[in-house]
Structure formats: C-alpha cells, structure tokens
Amino acid sequence: CTSIVAQDDAGKLYHARNLDFGLFMGWDVKNHTWLITEYLRPLVVNVNFTRGGKTAYKSVNFAGYIGLLTGIKPNAFTITLNERFNIDGGFVGMLEWIMGQRDGHWTSFLTRTVMDKASSYDEAMSMLTKEVILAPVYYIVGGVKSGEGAVVTRDRTKLDNVMAMNTTAGEWYVLETNYDNWTNPPFFDDRRADAKKCMDYSGKKGVGFPSIFDVLSTKPVLNQLTTYTALMQVNAGTLETYIRECPHPCYPW
C-alpha cells in the first residue's frame, strides 16, 4: 500500500492511497497476475454510511468485508490503514483473541469505531494511538487544518512512533508504504523513494487530485497488487475511487 496526506499552498489537505493486497496468495502463471488481487478488484465498492438520513462517514470497502481500510468523515478527518509486516503480527494477535484474550481491537474495526465515535482529528489520533489492537499496522490520518497529517506506527499493544507533518520545517506531505519511516525500505520494495520523488517533482503548488493520482499511477507505486486508488478531500467530503490495472511490464509488488 501507499498512503499520502498532502497540503497545498492554502493549507487544504488531500489524502490518497493505493491499496495493494494479495502478495503470495496464488500466482496466475498464464496471466502473470496475483489470483486474490484479481478476485478482489470486482469487489471494490464505495460505501456511504448514513445515520438519521445524513452521511456519517464514507469508506472504500471490499463487498463482504466490514472493517474500514480507507475512510473519510466529512469536515473532520480521513484515515487509511497500511499493513505493517512483522513476525509478531496479526497471526499472534488473532491466536490470543481466539484463546480468550479479547482486550484488543481488530485493526480495521477500530478505524470504523473511530469514524463512528470521533469527531475531530485530535480525537481520532488519540484513539488510534492508545487502543490495544490485534496486529501491527500503520494508521495514516489527515485532518482539516493545515499541518494535520500523520503516520501512526502501531505495535499490537503500544505506540511505536508518530510521524507528523512538520509544516514549520517546510514539510507539506507525509507518505507511508509498508515500512517503518525511521528505517530504509528493503531494496526489493522501495516504493517510498519513487513516490517521494514524484511528490517532490510535482511540488506543493501543484497539489490536488490530478497530481497525487499521477504519483499513485507511477510504477512501482502502482503495481500488480494494487486493487484501487482512493482520493479524498476532507472539507468537501469528496471520495473518488478508481479500480486499477497495471499494464505490463509491471512489478509484482
């Protein structure tokens, strides 16, 4: 996955992501594609959650999947969830949960609960940094005010790191793939460098759906695992989703 929160010259925030999923889950030798990824793409739907006849929040879901991996609460905040690979991963948390230790939240249920209960960026950040969860993940959060953008690196039981957008230092975006921001990504999967190169190339002046879509459409940020690209603008409550395809030659991840 690749998630980006960026702001333009006026401090208007944009949040976008590629959702990549299906690694090592069946390789179609004939078509050179990941099987599960191919099955997931037709399941992509936009969901408008309503309460009292009004929009409470919006998300991009796979039909049949009730957690929230990409969501926007209009005029409040945006969240995306990226996988964080770890040997002490979700498998361990799930086993503990099955064995009866149920104090932890499922990671994508927590994001839905946050969408439901929190009403501001600060409240969302508080919940996403403090609650116990079942799997290590990255929560990427955007708000409505200038500078409200952060990557929350979570261990199952504790907060590992918060990388907030430091606008006083001239930062205008935060970007997360699937590796800790304080380490170098592995040489065989350095989407971070490519995405950053393209963000820096387009520049702060050009920030908007078109420029961020271009970044997320550049290989290998776009790759054979990419199921969809979502673009969100919190003030307008806009959510645009595009089911993706990566023409050959395209890297498998």
Binding site: F21, M25, G26, L35, I36, Y39, R41, P42, L43, V45, N46, V47, N48, F49, T50, R51, G52, V60, N61, A63, G64, Y65, I66, L69, E83, R84, F85, N86, G89, G90, F91, G93, M94, I98, R102, W106, T107, L134, A135, V137, D194, K197, C198, S202, P210, F213, D214, V215, S217, T218, K219, P220, T241, Y242, I243, R244, C246, P247, P249, Y251
Partner: protein, 118 residues
C-alpha cells in the same frame, strides 16, 4: 526501466483520462439505523457472485495448505462470531445469510488482512 523492478519516470496527465484504470466502483448506502444483520444486504445482493468466487478462491488456497483448515473454519469460526463486539458479529452473520455462504467463511475473509501482517 524495462528490467525488474520496472521503474519509470513520474507520470503526468493520468487523472484526466483515468489511465491505468479498470473503472470506478459503484456506491452503496449502509444505513446505520438499520439492524446490523440486514444493513449490508444491498451490497451483498449486487456483489454476491463476486463474493462467492472470492471466498471459493481463498478456500482453494487455504485448502492447498491443508484441507483440515477449511473444516476447522466451518466448525469453529462461527462460535467466535458471537465473541465479536457489536455490531460487527451481527453484520458478519447478516452478510453470510444474504450471500448464502457459511458464517465462518465470511469471518475468514474478514480476518485475512489481520492475519497476513505476518
């Protein structure tokens, strides 16, 4: 770069013509005022065929590791649904009922993202 990892120059003008896209997904309303067991019915009715195909593929992959896992999924996972916080347990049961798939297999789909962080 025509050799792996197939990097390329930063792209331009992709948004205007929706390049490298296979389309835009449909939008559904999920009414939170409705009972959790029926609120996803609209989504499932439209995507039932695709959901059944997806679960079938997951079962093939998991079954290739060990067919016993699928037996365990059908036997034990439904019990765990009762332990999920509301409204999530009822939502999973509702999706299973609307799709005609076993409760445990819908739960399996829902825990996939959680498990594969390993």
């Amino acid at each position: 770069q025509v050799l792996p990892p197939y990097t390329e120059d930063c792209q331009h003008g992709m948004y205007a013509n929706h390049a490298r896209c296979a389309g835009m997904p449909p939008t559904f309303e999920v009414n939170l005022d409705q009972d959790p067991s029926v609120r996803w019915n609209g989504v499932v009715q439209h995507k039932k065929k695709e959901l059944v195909a997806m679960i079938g593929q997951i079962k093939l992959l998991v079954g290739a590791i060990s067919p016993k896992i699928i037996t365990a999924v059908d036997q034990y996972l439904p019990e765990l649904i009762q332990k999920l916080p509301e409204p999530y347990g009822a939502e999973i049961q509702g999706i299973a009922k609307a799709s005609g798939l076993p409760d445990g297999e819908i739960l399996l789909f829902n825990i996939f993202y959680e498990i594969f962080t390993v």
